[in-house]
Symmetry: none
Subunit: 144 residues, 4 copies
């Protein structure tokens, strides 16, 4: 398989939101970007705050930006804050370097896109992303 | 009803894409914004080009910006191009002033959000938007 | 008198909205900027669309930008569109070059600030601005 | 009640400024945004400095961005500075993450908008915001 389809992307969104419901998480916002960083599917649950679209997309974009899930960027921000600040600037303020941005990869490790989730703690956001990815049988890269 | 729900937004996306399939349109991209202009639901069909997310959202945002569907902005751009250019600048380059951005309104004329669609001709994009809105029983404002 | 006060600015807003009510205009948005182009007072009536804040401020800023009310910019945009486009760019997309941005001046012609109004036709927006300015006994420069 | 009215917003501004006068605070700037983050009412007292409009609006926007008053962002900025820096970037430099941005909520916890105040210490700015909110009988969320 070489490209993420809308059908897969929608399944990831649904499964991630189902995981959020199962865990009793706050309202979530889920963004799915393709390998080029362009939005493919998106859902923001009722009662989510207004910048959740940017945060969810910024996590997914951050993961694609460096080729690792955003847990890697979160660690980098603590070790080399100037690097992550520079990435933020270079991306026009797009990337959000905290956990919850997870790469979608096939069995050969090829990156097909990324999921970004926000709304609960970063760890819970990431757990919902992993559930979404598992639902379509893809591999996840959290950057851990 | 005072606010657009994610459930309604998803139904609009599905019905709009079904209309596109029925009419044999090119791959479509559909964005649903809430009344404040914040993304609620989104889908980009396979084989859509990479700036479709900005175009779909820009049509929906343009409609919300002025309180009329983007057919109004399309006409304004021909009568007073400097006004629409200024709106583009004032929105940080966000608005896209061609048909296919349609306001979602309740029976009292209250705006609950907007749909923006791109991928085929502007007229066909708008037709898909209208089918989506009809599916949830809301009123449409195309700006005509 | 050398500076616009908040008390005057609030009176201008009130009188402009009263004029809108008297004329049966659409919901209006009124912005008052000081001589430096910084926001002093503002009101957006219920049911106004979401970019009205930028449009009202952009009219007032445009008037201050060139030292004439925005009727001057509207004419300039038709004679020399490249000049007004360049001003739009140079202002970071701020200025809105259509009537409804009016300078506030004292009896010596000194500019104390500007009013920007949007929501109805540009001519009606300007009429509401003039009523506001008259209410505090200042002179108006519409750029006509 | 489902939406903030201009009448309520104006009352909040007046009551906040009255609180500032009562406490002998520095000149204040007060911005009221609706639930979508769009300016509804605004006042900048005489002798306020020129970026107070951006600061007041940035506090209110920051609160709406994440769904908590800006005291939450102030704490987050100390625990995870890279997250708050990223939010600043993702908002186009809009949010101001210090106390004084307070959500307006109804009895069901639904967010109707936000108040942002600047001019004195952040704690005093917040106290004036709370007085404004109390005056209209809404609930406040400071993010504490």
């Amino acid at each position: 398989m070489s490209e993420l389809t809308l059908s897969q992307a929608n399944q990831i969104v649904e499964a991630a939101l189902a995981k959020g419901a199962e865990l009793g998480l706050n309202p979530l916002t889920v963004a799915i970007l393709d390998a080029g960083g362009h939005l493919k599917a998106f859902a923001r649950q009722d009662e989510s705050s207004i910048m959740r679209p940017q945060i969810a997309q910024g996590k997914a974009y951050g993961a694609l930006a460096v080729g690792f899930g955003t847990r890697w960027l979160d660690a980098a921000a603590q070790e080399r804050p100037h690097f992550v600040q520079a990435l933020n600037g270079a991306s026009g303020g797009t990337i959000v370097p905290v956990p919850g941005g997870v790469l979608l990869q096939d069995d050969n490790g090829k990156t097909l896109g990324a999921v970004g989730i926000t709304g609960d703690s970063s760890d819970n956001d990431e757990a919902a992303a992993l559930a979404g990815i598992e639902a379509v049988g893809l591999k996840a890269n959290t950057g851990a």
